[in-house]
Amino acid sequence: MSYSAKVIDHYENPRNVGSFDQNDENVGTGMVGAPACGDVMKLQIQVGKDGVIEDARFKTYGCGSAIASSSLLTEWVKGKTVEEAMTIKNTQIAEELALPPVKIHCSVLAEDAIKAAVADYRKKHGEPV
């Protein structure tokens, strides 16, 4: 498997690895995937009062592409509103990282992860998911 330079960069120097307190009011947590499938992604967003994502963290069990997809996503969502974050598409991630066809599912998982994190945040705030 040959990875693109961007995947290798994110894999070797992952951005925003870590965790926030899951019970924090301002934190939304999305956990997607399953160990049996070979990838589990945990994405967390910390949202300010104005609905802007101030910070993001991830932990990923998965291949290099899965790690790179989630690392890239944490960079992208920072500074975006939760609404804007919801518009990120897996195809954008796949394109940015030049993922090969067999690895497209990693970008799909990343898109699912941000959606799940936003849903969790909204649920905490009684907003429609």
Binding site: V17, A34, A36, K59, Y61
Partner: protein, 403 residues
């Protein structure tokens, strides 16, 4: 030290320079076709082929007349399984027995025979990778024509009890084939005493060249086969096609070296493997796959829980190792061998096969260990599963989102 460090001797081995040296003259100076019976070029090629046949026979306690050259163990397995099933299936019956952890070169011909109307019993293995002899005994039926069970597993290195299996086959008059591609030079094989009818060999797993293998076909009692490749009637009709003397000479020399050096080499490699094992045991939540006793010294197959196999391979790219067998590594499926041991998908996904060999040094092992310690720690820091496990969450009880 040359990076990446090669720890994938079960996938293939370098040709030992002493072997290469013997091969090269048969490319240009002694280039004859051994089937040419009318001149010295042919005769010298034929003499070299026969010398190598004796060398191969010598390592395994066989008669040279019992050795049939093939292009490799895959072809040997195909010839043995299809050839014997077609021949004996006519009157002995159409039932065949094999094991779920066999190499694909055994499983695929068996599936092909299944499509042709044979019944195949696919035996399970126990958690340690070895078959249950009682279950095997029960699987034998009056219709059983052929059993195929490997000597040494390519992924986990375990040694199946083929003497016992063979004795049961003899009792029932069943033909017994053994894939020994991974065994030569690692375990002693004596076909004078082993009740085995057909045995497959490969040169390139034992420091010989790729593209050459052999099938042992017992003469007493005589074992029959239907040829799978037809033509000029080479190899007493078992396998047509021009022989490649340089490759055959290489296999002969490689097997002669294996016989001469097996004892000292295995001792040295076992020490290196123990060093690797001791080091890996120091990393939390690592599991060895397959029995540690009934196992060749060269192999250690380890699962690193909570890290994913492909990212681990990427992290340790200074080590040339494989996850699962080389032949299946293009697919993202977890290893079927580890699944058959009852390993969970995630442990199967995170397995690494370390296979050591003639040119592995202590320095190589130490480098590998320090790299693994560092990278496994880094990946676990990044792993949500590790975080959950540290928090005391039972991962088996988690409802994972379908994906």
């Amino acid at each position: 030290m040359q990076l990446p460090i090669y720890l994938d001797y079960s996938a293939t081995t370098p040709v030992d320079p002493r072997v290469a040296e013997k091969m090269i003259p048969y490319l240009s100076a002694h280039f004859g076709n051994p089937a040419s019976r009318s001149h010295g070029f042919g005769w010298e090629a034929e003499a070299a082929v026969e010398k190598a046949r004796a060398q191969v026979a010598d390592l395994i306690g066989a008669d040279p007349k019992e050795i049939v050259w093939t292009s490799g163990a895959t072809e040997s397995n195909n010839l043995a399984i299809k050839g014997a099933a077609h021949f004996y299936g006519r009157d002995k019956g159409k039932h065949l027995i094999t094991v779920k952890t066999e190499h694909k070169a055994v499983l695929d011909p068996m599936r092909e025979l299944e499509r042709q109307g044979y019944q195949v019993t696919w035996l399970d293995v126990r958690e340690n990778g070895l078959i249950d002899l009682e279950a095997f005994r029960e699987a034998l039926t009056p219709d059983t024509a052929l059993v195929s069970i490997m000597l040494v597993n390519n992924e986990i290195g375990v040694i199946q009890p083929i003497a016992e299996i063979g004795a049961l086959c003899r009792e029932k008059g069943v033909i017994f084939h053994v894939d020994a591609a991974q065994a030569t030079g690692k375990v002693a094989i004596d076909l004078k005493t082993l009740p085995v009818d057909l045995m497959s060999f490969s040169a390139h797993k034992t420091y010989g060249p790729k593209g050459i293998g052999a099938l042992y076909v017992r003469r007493k009692p005589r074992v029959r086969l239907e040829a799978q490749m037809h033509g000029g009637g080479h190899e007493r009709g078992f396998r047509s096609g021009t022989l490649a003397p340089h490759q055959i000479v290489g296999m002969g020399e490689a097997f002669a070296l294996a016989g001469a050096e097996m004892a000292t080499e295995n001792e040295r490699i076992a020490r290196l493997r123990d060093r690797l094992y001791a080091g890996l045991s120091g990393i939390e939540a690592t599991y060895v796959n397959g029995d540690l006793e009934a196992r060749v010294a060269h192999n250690l197959n380890v699962s690193f829980a909570y890290v994913e196999g492909e990212s681990l391979i990427m992290a340790i790219k200074d080590l040339a190792v494989s996850s699962g067998s080389a032949c299946t590594s293009a697919s993202l499926e977890p290893s079927y061998v580890l699944r058959a041991l009852g390993r969970s998908d995630e442990l199967a996904h995170s397995s690494i096969r370390f296979s050591l060999g003639r040119f592995t040094s202590e320095e190589d092992i130490d480098y590998a260990l320090s790299l693994l310690r560092q990278k496994v720690a880094k990946l676990r820091d990044m792993s949500p599963l590790w975080e959950m496990a540290q928090a005391g969450i039972d991962l088996d009880k988690v409802q994972w989102a379908a994906h």
